[in-house]
Symmetry: C2
Subunit: 410 residues, 2 copies
């Protein structure tokens, strides 16, 4: 039985993916595929993916990289050299999928256009991830993540109501647009693999073109149809929800935030009782959800004055005791210590041979009967080049030495 | 050739999915599968999915539903009746996948546990979507989306720096946690289908357990490893980025926001020139990215004073002319009129027979050689019950009449 057949390494074991990516979107896509068991070969420039320099480091090694590069093997290749590109084409013969996130057209300029790749591997699935997509008049605009998120509509909605404060809309604290594009690409790739292996290769289903902007817009619910039909421009609502109250983050005495969602009649009554304000049950401002939404600011201010008298810990107990949906707004620390995450392996210690013990998020989606594992942590630049050349390409020692000597392989 | 073989309806045509879902997460999962061509049968309670009441309506019909329910067929079944559950089991025989988002254990209580479903359809893939997952001590907590997002870590990071304003952290303006869980579930489902059809059914890869909290945490980049190794608690940065400046949303004279990402030496110099402040190029506060990050508030205030003198339209032209990455912070209106979205079909008019012309987002991921289409818009409650009973189950007219009479089928 091959490793692929047994599924030992996860549901996608047996699939091999070549990543010619950098930063977040394409590498996040391959992290997801690798987490489910695919064999990921990452091509890096001799100095490595710039994302290795991002975020906090230990001895010059990025902690994020331990996660972002996990379940991948790295080859550092100089693609400016013809010999580097030749090696890449040799590798493509052994792969099911190529994922890339250069600017549109760049692969073509490098002599690595999809039709050239497919000469070496007919039926190759090629996933392009970019800011705005591979076609259209705007495809060549600079694809900064934050700008793509703004164009996708998420930035405008992530804000306090503009009339209440003059503050700029908030960035979701991570590169959400890049990661969404990576996740959509992974979904598209597996869909294309299903079709290829079920019905045979068809050129129509071999190319996937994922735009960061479109990945974000795809999540925007009723925003677009409501504008189209009614001219309604969806507005930001701060910590609240436009259609239900009370639901917000409220301050605590120890300068944390607690989420309270008491937006139904029985929950609201329970909350008022807990606050010692059952007199407000019949207050016309707060009778029924529609009234509460209209007076949400007053209501939030009342709840905030109350919550601010207690620590987050105390409030959590009080609210849980009263059976009111609530939670501290979790920080990294809260997440690291959460028993539910620990019980499910969603927060786990992983040994990284380059750094030591590193706290990793688990694998999503979770297959409870075959949960898979973090088989390896983010590798050093080019750590696997020699092994892959021998194993997949059958290059001998002298050829590898010569490639290293000329700087094509690092 | 079957419809599945031709791939006429999209890359996933040939797959049939039964959704026993409600609200956002499971229905978003099936929207994604349906967008790629899968046949989606949605089981609804006689009064319909409550999400049909959400958001703006036309003649009592939700505009969001036109999108959320697209490419699906609806059967309204009373699952409290044994006969309703029997019909569901008959349907399961004809499906590849079941997606559900009840509270953990609820399916079991209804007599629809996965092993019962699999008696009728061996190898059935079952995807469970829930707030906290199907296992662990916290699995039964109330699964409100906003609370799951807070526990996943995204809420804390989506805020202005707490020390600068006392405002609560902001909700991403959509149910991002639910949608992420739906997208992860879709990715897992297709992965399981690939394995089933490549290597044959294996019980190990038939169950998928997606938690909203975990789907969010999975996107949190270096947050968890940096806390684990260094005790560093990742902090919110408002409109800015922690590691690069200037990059923020700046006010305009017409009360809009413009995103400017001038966070490199040449881009920053260009921006200063455009502002008529080239004298600041050598200001020690702004020399090099590290210095600019340290003085980001001063810098943002300078840029904001400048941007506030011009309209968003004028600024866009000026910044584009100077080749500085920027964009208006798009509202629904900007998105609806954007030529790039229109050119790629990402914003498109769709005829909804129940409402009229509705503006829909396109299909993501995009397969340029087989782009698929919106085959149908969100159907009326139970619109397809009779047709599906005849087509898949071979029920005759009298049986259907009797089911309607007894209220089992609406």
């Amino acid at each position: 039985m091959t490793e692929g057949q047994s599924g030992e390494g996860g549901v996608l074991s047996g699939i091999r993916v070549l990543e010619i990516g950098h930063f977040v979107a394409a590498p996040f896509c391959t992290r997801l595929l690798g987490d489910l068991g695919a064999d990921i070969i990452k091509i890096e420039p001799p100095k490595g993916d710039p994302v290795r320099q991002w975020g906090a480091q230990i001895d010059g090694r990025s902690l994020w990289w331990s996660v972002h590069g996990r379940n991948k093997r790295s080859i550092a290749l100089d693609l400016k050299a013809q010999e580097g590109r030749d090696i890449l084409l040799d590798l493509v013969e052994h792969c099911d999928v190529v994922v890339e996130n250069f600017r549109p057209g760049q692969l073509h300029k490098m002599g690595l256009a999809p039709d050239i790749l497919r000469e070496r591997r007919p039926g190759l699935i090629v996933a392009h991830v970019s800011g705005y997509g591979q076609s259209g008049p705007g495809r060549n605009q600079a694809a900064f993540g934050v700008i793509g998120e703004a164009i996708g509509g998420i930035r405008y909605l992530t804000n306090h109501p503009p009339e209440t404060h003059g503050l700029p809309p908030v960035r979701v604290g991570v590169s959400i647009g890049d990661s969404l594009a990576g996740l959509y690409a992974a979904f598209g790739i597996v869909s294309a693999l299903w079709r290829r292996d079920k019905f045979g290769a068809t050129a129509r289903f071999e190319t996937i073109d994922v735009a960061l902007t479109e990945s974000v817009l795809s999540m925007m619910e009723g925003m677009l149809p409501e504008f189209g039909a009614l001219g309604k421009i969806k507005q930001p609502t701060g910590g609240a929800i436009a259609t239900a109250a009370p639901s917000n983050a409220y301050p605590t005495a120890d300068e944390q935030w607690i989420l309270i969602a008491a937006n139904s009649e029985p929950l609201f009554a329970k909350l008022l009782a807990l606050m010692g304000r059952s007199d407000l049950v019949d207050d016309p401002r707060f009778t029924g959800n529609a009234q509460r939404v209209s007076h949400a600011a007053e209501l939030d201010s009342l709840i905030g004055d109350w919550s601010g008298q207690y620590t987050a810990e105390r409030l959590s107990h009080m609210l849980a005791g009263a059976d009111i949906p609530s939670s501290k707004v979790y920080t990294a620390q809260d997440i690291a210590h959460d028993p539910q995450y620990r019980a499910r392996g969603m927060v786990r210690e992983v040994e990284d041979p380059l750094i030591g013990t590193v706290l990793h998020p688990g694998i999503v989606p979770h297959f409870p009967d075959a949960p898979g594992q973090v088989r390896s942590t983010g590798p050093d630049i080019g750590a696997d080049g020699e092994a892959i050349m021998r194993e997949l390409l059958g290059y001998d020692k002298s050829r590898i030495v010569s490639l290293k000597h000329s700087g094509v392989l690092t």
